[in-house]
């Protein structure tokens, strides 16, 4: 994620849409990518990203500069995505048939695309599906976003040792998954 100047934040907090768009352009790739991997759905990633940026806009006035804007956005993005996943998990049974229809249609469409790329995405999806929401968030931030332990701890508001434990358990689970085939 690119750095954002204080002046831009102050302008955006005052309702300057051009300044807010600059923040969006610099941070939306991270927010969308994390949302997409945590929720495992393009539609949910859209909703989470919209929700996150509306929250950011409405609350920029209360941003205190005690932490960096990036950390603040990381935290909002991950928590919103995790909450969205939990909420949609409650409706999973009702959505199951709808999802299968969507996936079938999407699979046919994606078959036209690069098969190698699709195989990689499928493998990644299987790995992430094997993890709990908390482990998945840590793995996405570490492996896909390349954040270090300190940054992950700040984003998730947990201790560094908790980050370490979650990553270790996630990797042990993934090793077992690989052994099973």
């Amino acid at each position: 994620m690119q750095d954002i100047e204080k002046d831009t934040i102050v302008k955006a907090a005052g309702g300057d849409m051009a300044a807010f768009e600059e923040i969006y352009r610099k941070t939306s790739a991270f927010v969308y990518n994390v949302a997409r991997h945590i929720t495992a759905s393009a539609e949910d990633a859209d909703e989470v990203t919209q929700d996150v940026f509306i929250k950011i806009y409405n609350n920029l006035g209360g941003f205190n500069f005690l932490s960096s804007l990036k950390t603040w956005i990381y935290r909002i993005a991950v928590n919103t995505a995790l909450n969205h996943k939990k909420a949609s998990g409650r409706h999973l049974n009702r959505r199951a048939d709808y999802d299968i229809t969507l996936k079938t249609a999407a699979a046919k469409e994606e078959a036209k695309d690069n098969l190698d790329s699709q195989a990689k995405k499928d493998k990644l999806r299987r790995l992430l599906d094997a993890l709990s929401s908390e482990q998945r968030a840590c793995i996405v931030l570490r492996e896909i976003e390349g954040m270090d332990y300190k940054e992950i701890a700040a984003a998730l508001k947990i201790k560094i040792n908790t980050v370490r434990t979650r990553l270790k358990r996630a990797r042990e689970r993934l090793i077992n998954l690989n052994k099973k085939g």
Binding site: Y24, R36, K120, I175
Partner: protein
């Protein structure tokens, strides 16, 4: 360092480059001599880490920005931020925003209000009824005192006037 400890570090700090140089070299030395631990390292890198690195990143579709702009148009209901800032953080922000001169009086006022709200006298039915009884008693006595100097009722007026 035994294999158990090495395995722990392989799954976390070593693979994530979070170790100091001295420990990292110790582990590297161990890996060159221990096939079991070297096998775990290879498995971690090839099967667990590599699949995540190989996937291209997703990018937000362009229509999202338009949706967000529509969502934050004037008159749209604001979303309360519950995930970003905890209650403790909010209190900290308010306290830091106060000038030092006002900090002590504000804290004192908060403590007094908290004590009053949690006071055992609050919502005390016994105390309330006692005060009500005493008030009635005082009012009644005052009334008697007033009536003692004159004719209080129409019957008294009939017989005594």
């Amino acid at each position: 360092m035994n294999c158990g400890r090495i395995e722990e570090l392989l799954k976390t700090d070593y693979i994530d480059n979070e170790l100091d140089e001295k420990t990292r070299l110790l582990i590297k030395e161990h890996l060159s001599a221990c096939r079991k631990c070297a096998g775990l390292e290879a498995q971690l890198r090839e099967k667990i880490i590599a699949p995540f690195k190989a996937v291209e990143k997703y990018h937000p579709p362009e229509y999202l920005w338009q949706n967000i702009k529509d969502g934050i148009a004037p008159g749209v209901e604001k979303f309360p931020l519950t995930e970003g800032i905890s209650i403790a953080d909010r209190i900290l922000i308010i306290l830091r925003a106060l000038k030092p001169a006002y900090l002590v009086p504000v804290l004192a006022a908060v403590v007094v209000i908290a004590v009053l709200l949690s006071s055992p006298l609050k919502n005390n039915g016994g105390l309330d009824s006692y005060i009500a009884e005493q008030s009635e008693f005082i009012i009644d006595n005052n009334g008697d005192a007033i009536n003692a100097n004159g004719l209080g009722t129409s019957i008294e007026e009939y017989f005594l006037s």
